[in-house]
Symmetry: C2
Subunit: 325 residues, 2 copies
């Protein structure tokens, strides 16, 4: 069993030597650029860690790990165009550094490249393609739901959970399942690893919603209140609508109306947060997060190997979810 740091080093070395074609330069330069911006590399590490439960030669899972990382960066690249986001990981987004057409086309080739990375696997190859295809389609569906929610009046908490599940969580599950498939793990283990990753992802996203409003700017790394300023229908917003009085709901809705102009950002964030506080919505969010977190760990515990073999995934998830359970 490798440590988390050793897995991280394995993938760093792989990605450091992996090269995309040199030509056409204007097609692959944006690919190299977004891949060089770094990030936490959570998904590839999950793939390697899942493989490492069963075998030592983790290098064998590098290509599957790279598939999910390239796909993830493709989705960020196209999302940044759609969201009109200027920055990605503190640097210019691809459509800003290059141009929008380059961002569309280089994103397309990344999507296809993520399939190419799989083509040298032989064992379970059909199942590997299937889980990757299913997941990729779901990520698009989740992004569409997210876009649709912006202009929709009524969104239920259940719909919200479905959206974040598709948009962000299934890819964590797929990364683990693909690692397990490369390792030729049992169907049961594949499924438990998938559910573990998916539920960690849901818990993580709910936590992200909380931190965006209640976090510490220094450690969160993003501006606090960003979701509120963007009028995003987060867990906090949707749950508050369920819990507040009629007049409070009316006020909250008016503050999130698409045609409402925010005059003073700090005051606006403060007023929304006060309404959230009245609903004790962060407590509800923490509880919901815990439900998914516990579900995740119950799937991890159900895997048919010695507990120590899954310890690294357990501690990684705890670190991600920033809480010891």
């Amino acid at each position: 069993m490798l440590t988390f740091e050793a897995l991280s080093k394995t993938f760093s070395e792989f990605i450091g030597t992996y090269s995309f074609p040199s030509e056409p330069k204007q097609l692959y330069d944006p690919v190299r650029y977004i891949m060089s911006l770094g990030g936490k590399r959570i998904r590839p590490l999950l793939a390697l860690a899942a493989y490492n439960i069963y075998h030592d030669n983790v290098e064998k899972a590098n290509h599957a790990a790279m598939t999910v990382e390239v796909f993830h960066n493709f989705s960020l690249l196209h999302d940044d165009i759609m969201d009109n986001a200027f920055k990605r990981r503190g640097k210019d987004a691809v459509h800003i550094k290059y141009d929008e057409n380059s961002a569309i086309l280089s994103g397309d080739v990344m999507m296809i490249w993520s399939y190419k990375l799989l083509e040298d696997y032989t064992a379970n190859i059909v199942d590997i393609y299937k889980v990757f295809t299913k997941t990729s389609i779901e990520v698009c569906e989740g992004q569409r739901m997210d876009m649709d929610f912006e202009t929709r009046e009524e969104v239920s908490i259940l719909e919200y959970i479905e959206m974040i599940t598709l948009k962000t969580s299934v890819l964590l599950g797929a990364a683990l399942k693909m690692g397990a498939l490369v390792a030729d793990a049992s169907k049961q283990d594949q499924s438990h690893l998938y559910e573990f990753g998916k539920n960690v992802g849901i818990a993580f996203q709910i936590q992200d919603d909380v931190l965006d409003t209640y976090g510490d700017e220094a450690t969160f790394g993003k501006r606090i209140g960003g979701d509120i300023l963007q009028k995003k229908k987060t867990f906090l917003y949707l749950k508050s609508l369920e819990l507040l009085s009629e007049s409070q709901v009316e006020r909250l809705k008016s503050l999130f109306a698409l045609d409402y102009t925010i005059v003073n950002e700090a005051t606006h964030i403060e007023e929304v947060r006060n309404l959230y506080n009245k609903a004790f919505v962060n407590v509800h969010a923490d509880e919901t997060k815990l439900v998914y977190q516990q579900l995740a760990f119950s799937h991890l515990d159900a895997i048919s190997v010695n507990k120590e073999k899954t310890e690294i995934l357990r501690s990684f998830a705890e670190k991600l979810l920033n809480r010891k359970v």
Copy 2:
């Protein structure tokens, strides 16, 4: 052996009953829309015809045929955004009928869906994925070269041929090869069918360049002179640069300069066409087309089956290339 009409009917019936998911509606409506616009369905018919050389139950190749058709429409959809084209097959382009974000995201899901369509094949599945992935990457590379040529001073005829090969011709080859792979044809036959399709594609594109300038508006279906007005570096333009005198080349280049403003469209087309005529460039284009056409048919002749089995592909290509050889 089925007739061309019978193959066409087979695929029409398949596509008529094939359904994309109903939800999210705003993700799949644009997919249904572009798929409903029709078109000649050349690529899926090539896949079915290749399969039919070896087996009668052509329905088995429907999914592979659909893969190339969905991929082709994905590429049109994203190209229309990049080219800022308003119309597609006489109707609003997807990014006009819906919006640009919808066009990006629905294009993405079509790209992935084209992989999904392959997942029930078992024989040669790895090779099917490989040729499709390789081809899809090449189509992106060809589109990038096409975009790069717009702003590049010097483009050679060879580079132009490479661009059209990647952008449009390899997909015809891949359609045939995928049909052959589903049919479990020999490696040699797969390769001959691929080369046949690729070279027909190159010949077809050169013919398309000629028709765009010299065709009959009624039968060509597009406005004559469109390439000239768009200052496209077509075969005619590039070959003229090789053949004209220094002063004529200078004039032609100035008419295609990006900062040159076209005052009168008809006069402009006429002046460019006169320069093309002085180079007898349509004769050169016809000769080059014939080279690729003959290369295509030599590969078709090399297939290890009775001539009658490939007759339908021969007559289909002749029809496409609008000439009896």
